[in-house]
Amino acid sequence: GNNEEASTSSGSSGEGAEKKELTVQFVPSQNADTLEAKAKPLEKLLSDELDRAVKVSVSTDYNTIVEAMASKKVDVGFLPPTAYVLAKDQGAADVILQAQRYGVNDKDGSPTDELVDSYKSMFIVKKDSGIDSLEDLKGKKIGYQNVTSSAGYVWPAASLMDVGLDPLKDVQPVTLKGHDQAVISLLNGDIDAAVTFQDARTIVQKDYEDVFDQTKVIHYTEPIPNDTVAVQSDMDEDLRKEIQEAFINIGKDEEGKKIIRDIYTHEGYVKSDDSKFEIVREYGEKVKTE
């Protein structure tokens, strides 16, 4: 019954419940330095793999995608880890896959040749600031992202708590919109330290060339799980399997890989399950503001 609602219009292959159109929504992860707002290429890849009509849309706000999954209007969603956990806890989504990326060289932000399913966040300060460790941040202005952001708030806040600093009270928190904005605010002295994914400085490098010379990293956080591919909770097992395989195949196929890399900066997908996200819940609990 619910699948019926999920499919807004039946495409060319609209016969039988199995062949209902699949709706997919993509929310880019925060740690991407190139983005294309494109849906068509993925649509084509997936419908070839699944042999059914697929409708892909892109959005930058994961709240909407979770709500849409909860009301069965979206079948498959690309969710960042924190968003996934919230969605799961609402009974709206189950993770089936995680995206893989190349790791990041600590030194200059360039990619390594090792595929990973997690990324890190980091604290950066100005080179000449005299701040060398997390402890030095006491009383300083720190640029966070929204409190729901894994790399922009949750993980760094946990790091601060590990060294005994309250992330909101022992430093002066400043909320910024966008990791690029955080780097720029650091550069122009509005804040003393910024937390960003690794390595957001490459985005700003386009506009401000010597950003790597002017800033330094004082701390890396624990690894943060990569983006998930989650499906709405009512989906039957068979379809889940099909979708899992489809994504994995796309990641292995040369042409498919090129597309997901160019557009979504993904290198491939691996199976995943909810247990991998316990860490997200833990961290969430740990830094919960109220």
Partner: protein, 267 residues
């Protein structure tokens, strides 16, 4: 001739009241300015502003048309469709609200006040939540954008339009009443022709706003050129931003030109 008249005869009570209002206004400005930090130009401003402008001045022409879709033209077309439908929906739905809220049509102050309240309520409802509601209903995509814009625009259109209704010449209405017309007939024959030009002008104005509201809808994936614009802004791809902006500017200019022509016809 009496010289007393050289002084304005405003009563002292009124003078005190005006003085008090002035004092309050000044206090508000002091309060507002006091909350502002000192104005300073940041070190990064030169590089970054010049990067932005050089990007804007060298738009990414390739983006205008891709054979396989998802380019500027397709995005603008989608935006245009969303804005047009959103405006049509709002244009139809705002009419009953406007008459409800106009105090020269609904003589009972309480009832017209309630109409005004409803319009205010619609206006404070943030676009993003409006869109969220419709995404839950019909799923993400242009259709939810249309509905969000359509319902969200009622607040503003209703307010402007009801104020316009309040300012019409009631003489013609009186003439209709005198012939024995009931209120609906009187509105139809005497009010509507008078407010039609400004109604259409508000609609065209709102249409243009809705075209630009695509930016906001883009955040939540409700279709149109907004999504690529947000993506380009967030990765600081200024060339892409430049071409999208150029596209919007040209589209808005065309709309403005056409709406000017239409309005000239109407008045």
């Amino acid at each position: 001739m009496n010289n007393i008249l050289l002084q304005s005869p405003k009563r002292t009570g009124k003078k005190i009241r005006n003085g008090a209002i002035l004092a309050i206004v000044i206090a508000i400005y002091i309060w507002a300015f006091a909350g502002m930090p000192a104005l300073e130009f940041k070190d990064t401003s030169k590089e970054i502003v010049s990067a932005i402008f050089s990007g804007l001045l060298h738009p990414d022409w390739d983006y205008v048309y891709y054979p396989d879709g998802e380019d500027l033209l397709r995005g603008l077309l989608d935006t245009l469709a969303i804005a047009l439908l959103g405006t049509v929906i709002a244009g139809l739905l705002c009419v009953p609200f406007s008459f409800w809220a106009a105090k020269n049509i609904v003589k009972n102050k309480g009832i017209s006040g309630a109409g005004k309240f409803v319009l205010s309520f619609i206006r404070v409802f943030p676009d993003i939540i409006m869109a969220l509601l419709f995404i839950k209903a019909v799923g993400p995509g242009s259709f939810s954008g249309v509905l969000a814009l359509g319902i969200g625009s009622i607040g503003m259109l209703g307010k402007l339009f009801s104020e316009d209704i309040e300012s019409i010449d009631l003489g013609a209405t009186e003439a209709l009443v005198a012939t024995g017309a009931n209120p609906i007939k009187a509105i139809w024959f005497a009010v509507l022709p008078q407010v039609l030009p400004s109604y259409l002008s508000f609609l065209l104005y709102r249409f243009e706003i809705n075209v630009r509201a695509a930016t906001i809808l883009g955040v939540i994936g409700a279709g149109g050129i907004g999504t690529p614009l947000i993506f380009a802004l967030s990765v600081r791809d200024w060339e892409r931003v430049g071409i999208i902006l150029l596209g919007i500017i040209i589209m808005v200019a065309i709309i403005d030109f056409c709406s000017g022509k239409i309005r000239a016809r109407l008045t």
